[in-house]
Symmetry: C2
Subunit: 298 residues, 2 copies
């Protein structure tokens, strides 16, 4: 094992989290409360948020200057929208210590991993994506325990040492998440299906209901649980999702096409009044969804 591969144990690490939104601030709260590392530093763009993060006790130190924030850190975790992460990687590369573990929590991995590959030699990058978003955003939405039982995808680069990946796993485990090593391209294809497609679908649903609601506002009044759940993710932060869609365009377009084919099949069967075929298809979807839910609860 070479010298540069030695990493401090998590308990001795200074951790800097860049971005005090839902994901970043929730992570800080868990790290601080659990005493899992030596120090937790938070970086936020807005001074309001810097003060809030500091005075709420979510972090030990806070700043709105990212280069100051990462100075002397053993672990840097970028928790902003995807394209901000890409820009931040360029900005902080030159000031990081050799051996620093650089992680991120971005929802797509391809562009972030490209930027991570350009970090100065000696830096240890590990891409990441904890699967536990909510439709509410910002520091106000943050909460301890957000990561409990959530799958946390980790995507090391070829250059990443085994010890660095181990430290990243230790951090995920510390806050109760289930670390899962997944290659970046595979991750991006999967989340296009299970996360980005639902967002696009939910947004289109809201628009379709809005067209009816514009003519007859009673639609909004009687809308109940079905609409509520199916449309929930449409309330997510638009700018965060624009970054996601734009950095995972190919995979998302593929999933939209696949989904539209399924919709068209159902439409044709309904139009033809083919009850048996409709029942078979809807019954299959029901069985799949029920099976998925039972596994989730194990």
């Amino acid at each position: 094992m070479e010298e540069k591969c030695r990493m401090k144990p998590l308990a001795e690490c200074r951790v800097t989290v860049v971005g005090m939104g839902l994901m970043g601030a929730s992570l800080c709260m868990d790290l601080t409360r659990g005493g899992f590392c030596r120090e937790v530093r938070g970086v936020a763009r807005r001074t309001d948020t810097v003060l809030e993060a500091f005075f709420s006790g979510a972090v030990d130190e806070a700043t709105n200057d990212v280069q100051t924030g990462v100075l002397g850190a053993d672990i840097v975790i970028l928790a902003t929208p995807v394209r901000t992460i890409v820009n931040t990687l360029e900005e902080i590369g030159p000031v990081l210590w050799p051996g620093t573990l650089v992680m991120d929590m971005g929802s797509t991995k391809a562009e972030i991993m490209e930027a991570m590959a350009l970090l100065p030699e000696g830096i240890e990058p590990v891409g990441g994506h904890p699967m536990c978003g909510k439709e509410t955003a910002g520091f106000a939405a943050a909460e301890p325990g957000l990561y409990r039982d959530a799958p946390w995808v980790l995507a090391p680069l070829a250059r990443t040492s085994a010890n660095a990946l181990e430290l990243a796993r230790a951090l995920a485990l510390a806050v109760g998440a289930r670390p899962l090593v997944v290659e970046a391209q595979r991750h991006d294809r999967l989340v296009a299906s299970i996360s980005h497609l639902p967002y696009v679908v939910a947004s289109a649903l809201v628009q379709a209901v809005a067209a009816v609601g514009a003519e007859d506002p009673l639609a909004w009044q009687i809308a109940a649980g079905g609409f509520r759940d199916t449309s929930r993710v449409a309330a997510s932060d638009t700018h965060m999702f624009i970054d996601i869609l734009m950095t995972n365009r190919g995979a998302v377009l593929e999933q939209i096409a696949s989904f539209s084919t399924q919709m068209e099949t159902l439409r044709v069967l309904l139009e033809a009044g083919d009850e048996d075929a409709l029942c078979a298809l809807l019954g299959k979807a029901q069985a799949l969804r029920v099976a998925w839910k039972s596994k989730q609860q194990l």
Copy 2:
């Protein structure tokens, strides 16, 4: 006011609920616990359910013979899938007392209202639809308080007396629902948008994710809150929803077309990488969804 328009107050009524699934059994539980009427009788197809309804105390009496069940009832409430309601109306018409209030809880109204119009003279029909489904079905899923704060659509026929409608309102109010008089066609058009479209969309989403999951099962494993909520209604009872779709085909097809147009708009903008237009559209959907949620919470 003619003799035939006089109705007993709710407290003196014998109420028969046909169908001991989620909706019917939950209603019985509320009526029995609250002591809102003289007697609560439940009709179920399966003997198991008859016994369960009786011994759980959800009803005062239970039977699996619908004609026996409705004998002497002042209020009959049909709580089965839509096309079963239509058949039951034909079956019970001849044995009902004049002056009986006949209500239903079907998810579409057009075909039920047609069948209600054919009930013998003197019967008082009021179509209905409480907006509080869940994706779980059957007696086991029933719970007291299901109707609390839920909009309960009431659709009287031209022949329905004001007193009969008043009694239907009193029943909805007794279990905490918010009665709302809506004409049947208008109801069917609105629920096509806010309830039936979400079901079709959720089912197509499950199929699209299943196609990815079949190649890479990790998709199911990392699927989180976004997929969970957007797909939830796909787990609903298939036979109930087949009845809904088949009895509201025109309106549902119209909503599928409207939704598909919205999806296509989003797809084209994403393909073109037109961030500004994409941001405007997704931002609009976000604002609408957030505004709807805030109103719901008032």
